[in-house]
């Protein structure tokens, strides 16, 4: 389009010099801008709009009116760079997502690991593995940490300085416990029929692995839960 010939009023896309017809009233121009912006896949600039509208139109002015009209509505006329587009009002964004809540049971590995941490905290990964008799996958601990039921506690002052794991306040909230000490002890488990009634192994009271540096004579649901930060 190098040659700007006129005399063809509706087509004079850049220079509306003396259009043959008076431009449509501004309300009509607003309707045009509204329809154009609604149907356009991309934001449109004033220039884009004016090439699409009849000669003599003033899309910039129509935009002002239209923008005012959409103030406080569920959608707003937004300026994006030098172009315009309709967008959902920002306070309506909560409608634009659907959240599906999926109820799932914890895997056996996860619940056992969680139980060990709750009863034995602070407990190292090696200790968890010793009690469960199988390796604990990184994923299981990660999951419990992501759920915010377990967090990393202080490191043990033993060779390798292994991290320990403890349960969190979120855990206590979820299980309706005031502290981890409120976890039912072995005798209560037995009374509840959850343990067979044969003489208990003294396992609960026995240190899992000798911890020469630590005098953690383990005494059931630990006393030293929730070490201070």
């Amino acid at each position: 389009m190098t040659d700007l010939t006129h005399n063809d009023p509706p087509e004079a896309d850049d220079q509306p010099t003396a259009p043959a017809f008076p431009p449509p009233p501004i309300e009509e121009q607003e309707r045009m801008v509204e329809a154009l912006l609604f149907a356009s896949a991309q934001p449109m600039s004033v220039r884009d709009l004016s090439t699409r509208m009849p000669a003599g139109c003033d899309p910039a002015e129509a935009l002002v009116g239209l923008r005012r009209r959409y103030e406080g509505r569920g959608v707003s006329l937004e300026r994006i760079g030098d172009a315009y587009a309709f967008r959902t009002a920002s306070d309506m964004s909560f409608l634009m997502q659907t959240e599906t809540v999926e109820q799932r049971r914890l895997s056996r590995a996860a619940i056992e690991t969680l139980a060990i941490i709750a009863y034995h905290q602070p407990v190292t990964r090696a200790e968890i593995e010793e009690i469960r008799g199988v390796a604990v996958s990184r994923g299981t601990l990660d999951q419990l940490i992501e759920m915010e039921w377990v967090r990393v506690g202080r490191r043990r002052m033993t060779p390798g300085r292994p991290a320990t794991f403890v349960v969190t306040e979120t855990f206590l909230d979820h299980f309706g416990l005031e502290s981890a000490r409120d976890l039912p002890g072995l005798s209560e488990l037995r009374a509840a029929g959850l343990l067979e009634s044969r003489p208990p192994a003294e396992g609960l009271m026995v240190p899992l692995t000798p911890q020469p540096d630590e005098d953690d004579e383990f005494s059931g649901p630990a006393d030293d839960l929730f070490e201070d930060e």
Partner: protein
Amino acid sequence: MAKSPGNISYLKAVPDEPAGDEFDANAILQRRADEALIIDVDGYEGPLDLLLTMARTQKVDLMKISVLHLAEQYLEFVEQARALRIELAADYLVMAAWLAFLKSRLLLPPDPEAEGPSAEDMAAHLAFQLERLQAMRQAAARLMGRDRLGINRFQRGAPESIARKRRTQWQAGLIDLMRAYARLKTKDEFRPYAFDRQDVYTMEQALDRLRHLIGFAGEWTQLVDFLPDGWEGQGKRRRSATAATFAASLELARQGRLEIRQAESFAPISFRMKPTTERK
């Protein structure tokens, strides 16, 4: 095909076009149309479509068309086609037979004995069918002329997608926790390794040791002498090693490789290798 179909005056190329006024031009158009029609009967959507086209040349309300005249037109068309050795599809011929029958019924005085619908009923139904087809064509045209989506009306050009978030809510109650722990503790009872490995001497260990040592024990040797180094003292370790060694000796005795002797209750237990001569 240069053959002219002759004077089939009722056929027109475009069904919806009104007849032209100029005589010459019309005649030429007419002839071309006739040729086109005869050559390509497939251009018509079946005999009913052809009949409708013919009926419209009568230029009257479809409800008032002369079915008799229409039947004659159609039969003439079929004859012409035959004369030109054009093969008509079976349905056109079936329609011709039906119309010939209708024509004869319409021409003859009504037979009061005749069963079934009267010739007038048949003609009326044909007229109805033609009118209905015509009406559906007009309805189709009106439908296609509406403000259509993507042509006259538009949807949002940049729809905003709905984000789908999936949140997993893990279910676990205190009872699950207790059960899990109880399960672990129950398991512990069958798995003495799980705690204090250092003070437990297992039967497997004792068996290994006994199998090795028994070969040297041709004479009665006391159990305590088989205890491994570091386990002969007192307390848990000695008890564990003694129990394991005794259990291992029972196993070897069962296999017939070893004999066990005890003089009286609580007296020391002695082993010796079972003499090979007595083996079967």
